[in-house]
Amino acid sequence: MTETTTTPDSNDPVGVLESDLRRLLETAIGETGESLAKDAAVVASYTAQRAAHLAAIAGQPGFEFAVAAERSAVLAFAAVRVGHEARAIDARVWSIVDVALTVGARFLLAAV
């Protein structure tokens, strides 16, 4: 099965804009996917590290306090990663919107 790609007509500025936006969006989605996968790996690694610490201190007085603290530490760690990733997604998307608006404004000016 061959994938058909359409090359926008250079005389169709909206088509070019649409094509550029699609390309930028695909790049942003790709970057976001890679970044999310990296975040998931970092959180998994951190969780394993904290679990190893718990295993090492099993039997210490107040061990139950450590279990509760580690659970919360992992939750906080993951939440902060999610927050930072969401900010990165916003930054990527807004840069695309910025490009789209700038290009759109040029088209509008040219049309006047």
Binding site: V14, G62, A69, A79, V93
Partner: protein
């Protein structure tokens, strides 16, 4: 020239909707996590205040810091979180004192204290995130 806004509008609409990710993450992930963890951290700070033996206006000031952080977490307001972050070293100091005291008393082991410090440190990161707009 045919600008055909009908063709580009859906793209922009998708982009703008997607650009709400950080607001949603803050509201739905970071803030709830801070609200779950704060009572545990608060208990650590209060134990430290008690262990320090601080009294009078210093004790009052220490409790005011606890109230400020609690307000920041309850409201999710970035301005209040910034103020709370400024006072964080005070809360952290008392919590650390409490851990040391508990280890000395044999209530918890040093490894357990490390876990409590880890939670304290990660809660600070949550507060820092809430403080940034």
């Amino acid at each position: 020239m045919n600008l055909a806004p009908r063709r580009t509008a859906p793209f922009l609409a998708i982009l703008v909707l997607a650009a709400c990710a950080s607001g949603r993450a803050r509201q739905d992930v970071v803030l709830p996590a801070a609200r779950v963890i704060w009572p545990e951290v608060r208990a650590d700070v209060l134990r430290g205040i008690d262990a320090s033996g601080v009294a009078g206006s210093d004790r009052h000031d220490a409790h005011q810091v606890v109230i400020l952080i609690g307000t920041a977490v309850a409201s999710g307001n970035a301005g209040i979180a910034t103020s709370a972050l400024r006072e964080w070293p005070v809360a952290k100091g008392y919590a650390e004192l409490g851990f040391t005291h508990r280890v000395s008393a044999g209530e918890i082991g040093e490894g357990v204290a490390q876990s409590l410090r880890e939670r304290l440190s990660n809660f600070h990161d949550l507060l820092q995130f809430l403080a940034s707009p």
